[in-house]
Symmetry: C2
Subunit: 330 residues, 2 copies
């Protein structure tokens, strides 16, 4: 008898969530967990990247290190937590060299200064024979007790915002692979900008305080805006209504979409954005945006939380649907 | 120009230690780090296991899970920290199945009850193509502020003790591989006991409180008693004098050594013991052992800390040396 297939979400929900009995683990329904320590909560998250899955083995070690650390800091920021430290488990694939490791470490060091974090410990090991380098980072942040910003706390009537721009990394990956119409008739400068966005995620980590102060619910967009918003809806048992044309796009993505309309679907469903999706009471939106602006960051209103479960997307007033990562127009 | 070769210790000391600027990271010179949270210290450690490196891909998933968790709890206990939670980054090699994952998770769950820990979060991902399953666990424990038991705090005049017995797992691995004289002329029962010791490490996690109350310095023995004791000497800038015949051996290891004297070297230099090496003021030894005995655990005096740097080993009164994992008799 064949076993039922399990994807990552099924594996987590069915197999591992029953092990997460602490209240702060939120039954693994969020990107980070908390535990009480003194009068504050420590927020912990752990994300791993594998060569050939999350990065290319021949990516610059500086970019691999930055991605490995930043995807974790992104989770903390989206939970309203101030990052302060991390642990690194580095499984080195065959052919690594001292200079590779030194470049990897130098990149981490430069992110220490930028994000106010430091290396607390970890492990170095040989990767499984035949396999490439795998990097697991556990990042630690702090929030006042009870102040973590969860996914499940979104409520009808709240405004949905997203920081930065969406789709750059997804289109950058396609440019790298040369598939799905990439490079979308773009000039070299735009192609370079998109590839850079894939290689060097730049999450708005500094937004943690604004998120903590103003957001009712939040998560980082790592698996694609549409899919992640669906997850938020499921977790919070609410619905979301978004206006696709409100989704903030960079000039490069905008140009790609003009040349190849299907690139729009990829932008909204692709991954690796590492932007913060947050829901806010209407009265809080202005203050949230003002605080972000002080940090040189931006957020855009893209829709609202509604009672009817599920994600409803409109484009120029017309409802559209997305299946298998592509928009289906009714 | 060839790059200088870097082993794990070199990589940590030269490349990563400069990143560990927090005092609680102890410049990566220990098995765990601390950070202050409220009035207590949180102790964190992260150890990863890779298929084909730290376990066999066809080991029972229950044993793989237990090893992955327990090697981390072992580090916490040796630091005098009470474990309470962990995060799991699980990179699944090709051919994993839902039932494999369920057996893996069931084993973790049974260790939850035994050790008082719970899963806080983590990540599941596909392993790097061609590579096997890799498991990175970050474990969390607590100690009163400033009470972590370090390696570097060992001082001359202290008594060196080790819990349990030494060498079972190392000889068990050799029995599995059928090399170096294994199975050492042992009967099936003894072979099974040694193989079991390799497959299912059983660290004295409950000893954390006795270590915290009595030990001046401690570490878990994971890379071989001799090598780990040398590390402790280097870190603390002291020396150790041990009597090899005092090292506690199980009946199976004793029988192996009787049949194949060279098995003694393997027992003292092999890895995977996950016992606690602790140094104590002479006045504390009795109380330490009494507390362990109440938990059904044991510790044995194997030597003392001295001022002269380096490890000096005597056997039946005669100094011996160990090079490349083998004793050299003068």
């Amino acid at each position: 008898m064949d076993e039922p297939a399990l994807d990552e979400d099924g594996l987590i929900a069915r197999v591992f969530a029953p092990l997460a009995t602490a209240a702060g683990a939120d039954a693994l329904g969020d990107d980070a967990a908390t535990f009480l320590a003194g009068s504050e909560d420590i927020v912990v998250t752990s994300d791993a990247l594998a060569a050939g899955v999350h990065f290319f083995a021949d990516d610059p070690p500086e970019a691999i290190a930055a991605k490995a650390l930043r995807v974790n800091l992104s989770d903390l920021a989206a939970k309203g937590a101030e990052p302060f430290a991390y642990l690194l488990a580095l499984a080195l694939g065959e052919g690594w060299s001292a200079s590779w490791a030194e470049r990897f470490a130098a990149s981490l060091r430069s992110d220490h200064a930028r994000y106010g974090v430091t290396l607390l410990g970890g492990d170095t090991l040989r990767a499984s024979p035949g396999g490439g380098t795998t990097i697991a980072i556990t990042a630690l942040g702090r929030v006042p007790h009870g102040r973590i910003v969860r996914r499940r706390s979104a409520r009808p009537g709240e405004i949905i915002t997203v920081t930065g721009t969406i789709g750059d990394a997804a289109l950058g990956l396609l440019c790298r692979l040369g598939t799905d119409g990439a490079p979308f008739g773009l000039d070299a400068e735009n192609v370079a900008a998109l590839r850079e966005a894939y290689l060097w995620p730049d999450p708005p980590v500094e937004a943690w305080r604004a998120v903590q102060r103003h957001a009712m619910a939040a998560m980082d967009v790592s698996d694609g805006l549409v899919g992640d918003l669906r997850k938020l809806c499921r977790t919070a048992a609410i619905g979301a209504r978004i206006e696709a044309d409100s989704v903030p796009l960079s000039p490069a993505v905008r140009a790609a979409v003009e040349n190849h309309p299907a690139a729009f679907d990829k932008a909204l469903t692709g991954g690796d954005d590492y932007q913060i999706l947050a829901t806010l009471r209407p009265s809080k939106v202005e203050a949230y945006m003002a605080e972000l602006a002080e940090l040189g960051l931006s957020a855009t209103v893209i829709g609202e939380i509604v009672e009817t479960p599920g994600l409803s997307i409109r484009r120029r007033g017309v409802p559209i649907d997305i299946t298998d990562g592509r928009f289906q127009h009714f």
